[in-house]
């Protein structure tokens, strides 16, 4: 059978930047091909080229993209519109932003049928409901809802339903689960691969996660800086990588094998203690009684040690972080810091506490004021607490830039000019500027590429050793928790379900929920049975 998608010597430019250089590959009918790469590798450009949807500034400078027999680079708008949705469909990256917020989801699924004249009105609505059911949703409950009324996983299922509704030959899935929880990610990927296998649809799967790719794909392509550096069967690519970059990527990917990075212990003086904390957010309208965000929680973080607080979205872990920072007040319970009750500290006492407890946020792209220089950003907390003269503060900022291993010339650059990893280093430098005793790290590496992730975790471990800082490390990723935590606490629906040394919790989980979380972590050595013959 001839391939569904053939890419031959493709080169794409954005102005002066070559995003893709001389890339060739193909996707056979029914085959799942994964493109793996980090941000800026050109993997998303490839995905968009396969849809004939390259952004405005992009030009194809060489090569062809054949969808069956049509060259997408040469096709006009009419031909492309005819192919999109019907022959090739997209499952986009961010389910939260990929549905029209003011339109019910049923009509959004039906729209693809109407565009291509496959069904109209009632018939289209009926087929949309069937598609929603195939995607694992209850159409009678979901079809008349607006996107904001559905969870992230449900929205992604709606998008999968819309992509599959017109029976396309190829589905391009661009990081389809990177915005979702691990357990949801597993369900969605299982479902997507099962559906495409059943209907014989080919799947071009773009991901930054080598483990996810290796677990699901018939063939893995590794992209780096616009070039295809390696391709082959997942077992070969992961276990015996030929290219040094693939080896680096495989090594950096946090997994669940081997001993935990750090020995757990419950000794050491507790620095921050939460006792019997309850917190319920008042619901709008006041008609429904909401379940508490945090429910009789006891937690302790020790000096110089890391407690990983693990859970999925909505589990209440971020609320705990905010309670610890005293950005929120608990309804009941006590918060002790260094032996003193700070539950209702106000004014100067609260300011003193703020100096000793700092925060690093999840998204380095929004956590830093893009207009300020790195020097001003790092000196800001010193300024806020009126520490030193402005010359002292500049000197301190220069020291801290060195501590977080950024080049000295970053001091006078603006946050907007830095990469994600560099920005997160700036955020860490800002957090340690006041020599805090405790840092709340709210998903500090989830927005970063794996190789960057590994380097940031390494930096955090080093700082903790040198400065004896306690970390409350909030994460949804058990593999990351393994890399950094001495102790692990697992949260679900506002309650702690399991707590203990990292080694124990992550290798002999007692609670079924912890086990489910562990099972959902992608394991590159658990290749799915190959349904189509693999290509050499």
């Amino acid at each position: 059978m001839s391939p569904v998608l053939t890419v031959e010597g493709l080169a794409v430019r954005y102005g002066a930047v070559e995003a893709v250089r001389g890339v060739s590959f193909h996707v056979d009918p029914g085959e799942t091909v994964a493109i793996v790469g980090e941000s800026g590798s050109g993997k998303s450009t490839l995905a968009h080229a396969a849809l004939g949807l390259l952004p405005a500034g992009a030009t194809v400078t060489a090569g062809r993209v054949l969808l069956r027999d049509t060259d997408l680079a040469a096709a006009d708008d009419r031909e492309l519109r005819h192919l999109r949705g019907r022959t090739v469909a997209l499952v986009p990256q961010d389910p939260g932003a990929s549905l029209d917020p003011v339109m019910r989801v049923g009509p959004q699924v039906a729209e693809v049928l109407e565009i291509h004249g496959l069904a109209r009105g009632r018939a289209a609505a009926l087929r949309a409901r069937e598609a929603l059911a195939r995607a694992g949703l209850q159409p009678e409950q979901v079809a008349d809802r607006y996107p904001h009324e559905l969870s992230g996983g449900m929205r992604q299922r709606v998008l999968i339903a819309a992509a599959l509704a017109a029976d396309p030959a190829l589905i391009v899935a661009d990081e389809p689960t990177s915005a979702l929880d691990v357990t949801v990610q597993k369900q969605i990927l299982d479902h997507l691969t099962a559906l495409t296998a059943k209907s014989g649809t080919s799947l071009l799967f773009v991901t930054h996660d080598l483990a996810v790719a290796a677990e699901r794909a018939d063939r893995v392509l590794v992209m780096r800086a616009g070039e295809l550096v390696e391709s082959g069967h997942p077992a070969q690519v992961f276990d015996a990588p030929r290219h040094p970059y693939t080896r680096e990527l495989a090594a950096a990917a946090p997994g669940l094998d081997g001993p935990t990075a750090r020995a757990g212990s419950t000794t050491g003086a507790p620095l921050m203690v939460l006792e019997g904390i309850d917190k319920t957010y008042p619901s709008r309208g006041g008609r429904t009684v909401d379940r508490p965000a945090v429910d009789s929680l006891d937690l302790a973080v020790s000096r110089g040690r890391t407690l990983a607080l693990v859970g999925e979205s909505g589990s209440g872990k971020t609320t705990v972080g905010r309670l610890v920072l005293r950005l929120l007040d608990p309804d009941t319970g006590r918060i002790l810091f260094d032996g003193a009750d700070v539950t209702s500290a106000r004014g100067s006492r609260l300011r003193a506490l703020r100096r000793r407890v700092q925060l690093v946020q999840q998204n380095p792209f929004t956590a830093l004021n893009p207009r300020l220089t790195v020097e001003a950003l790092i000196a800001d907390p010193l300024h806020a607490h009126r520490i030193g003269s402005s010359a002292d503060r500049r000197r301190r900022a220069a020291e801290l830039v060195e501590v977080v291993r950024l080049p000295a010339d970053t001091l006078h650059r603006r946050a907007a000019e830095l990469s994600g990893g560099q920005r997160q280093r700036v955020a860490i430098a800002r957090a340690i500027a006041l020599d805090p005793e405790l840092i709340v790290l709210d998903e500090p590496v989830s927005a970063l590429d794996v190789s960057v992730q590994a380097r940031i975790l390494d930096l955090l471990r080093g700082l903790q050793r040198e400065r004896d800082i306690g970390y409350l490390f909030i994460t949804h990723d058990l593999a990351v928790a393994r890399e950094i935590a001495h102790d692990v606490a697992v949260m679900r629906a506002g309650r702690l379900v399991e707590r203990g040394p990292a080694a124990t919790v992550l290798s002999e989980p007692r609670d079924p929920y912890t086990r489910a979380l562990l099972d959902a972590v992608p394991d590159p050595r658990r290749h799915r049975p190959v349904t189509t013959p693999a290509h050499p």
Binding site: G85, D100, P101, Y146, M154
Partner: protein
């Protein structure tokens, strides 16, 4: 939903009350009561005793708080006092003028919305072609040039040049065309500017990409998806503009010699007829508040995220089918 409406209504009443109180303070509390002001002008022939009698008649000799409460109480039941110049009830004076002005403002607003939306859509539609650059010039031009000058141009072209519409007066719908258009131009240009920018931002949203990946053409993307999402900030702006339209109408009425609030205000200010001035100011505040209320009530219709504040999110709609 009822709570939402009642809450907004309460705020609206509060704003009108505040407007009434502030105008009262400005017009009555400041030194020099209306009668003394008039004494310097057309009542100059009256004796002090006669003036005192007048003051007594209008209640200006009572304590301010009492004056305020009496007038407020009367205003609530629709008695806004009498014109000091013509002795006619303020409600009648303002009401007569209002009909003509409301006609002008409503038609002007409709022309502004339709025209502004059309220009915005056309600009976005023709992106990257030369007409787009031409279209993109229109809104700044419309905002920058004053309405009265457009009014004069329109009279020159379409009343004297090609005699299509009457230049002056208020006889029949044809006389409404030129004033409404000149009133609509600055407002329509503002709407066009805002909506174009909002459409550009909306078209960069991921869901537009997803819709295009389903094979949708530009027309469907713009009309079925982008326009409604992009309209939200524009609707807020339009609510604020309506108040501006009212003051624009005053100028346009003068240019086209139309009867209306414009003429009434001009006269009242000239003759220091405080009761009428206060009536117009309170009326303007009512218009502002009603426009804001209309926007607040329109918002949940356009945006389900506001409408559904009380609705529970779906938690367990995952089916078993695979």
């Amino acid at each position: 939903m009822t709570r939402y409406v009642l809450g907004r209504l309460g705020q609206a009443l509060l704003v009108v009350w505040a407007a009434y109180t502030i105008t009262f303070a400005v017009l009555y509390v400041l030194p020099g009561d209306p009668v003394s002001l008039m004494a310097g002008t057309n009542l100059g022939f009256l004796t002090t005793a006669q003036l005192d009698e007048l003051r007594h008649e209008y209640g200006f000799d009572r304590p301010l708080v009492v004056q305020y409460l009496i007038r407020l109480g009367a205003a609530v039941v629709g008695d806004w006092g009498h014109s000091i110049v013509s002795s006619r009830p303020v409600v009648d004076v303002v009401g007569e003028a209002l009909v003509s002005t409301v006609q002008l403002t409503a038609v002007g607003l409709a022309v502004a919305i339709v025209g502004g939306t059309t220009v915005a859509l056309a600009t976005v539609w023709t992106k990257r072609r030369w007409p787009a650059q031409l279209l993109a010039l229109l809104p700044p031009l419309g905002v920058a040039v004053p309405a009265f000058w457009f009014g004069l141009l329109l009279i020159q072209w379409f009343a004297f040049g090609i005699p299509l519409f009457p230049a002056f007066g208020a006889q029949g719908p044809a006389s409404l065309v030129l004033p409404a258009v000149s009133l609509a131009i600055p407002t329509g240009a503002t709407i066009a500017q805002l909506l174009t920018r909002s459409l550009d931002a909306t078209l960069a949203e991921p869901y537009i990409q997803t819709i295009r990946a389903r094979g949708a053409g530009t027309g469907r993307v713009l009309l079925r998806h982008a326009l409604r999402n992009a309209a939200l900030p524009t609707v807020t702006m339009t609510g604020l503009i309506v108040g501006g339209l009212l003051s624009g109408a005053v100028v346009v009425e003068t240019v086209f010699s139309r009867p209306g609030l414009g003429r009434v205000v001009a006269q009242a200010v000239e003759q220091q007829d405080v009761a009428v001035v206060q009536g117009v100011v309170v009326l303007a505040s009512i218009v502002f508040v009603l426009a804001g209320l209309a926007v607040d009530l329109l918002y949940p219709v356009l945006d389900p995220r506001i409408r559904a504040a009380g609705r529970r999110p779906v938690r367990s709609a995952l089916g078993g089918a695979a």
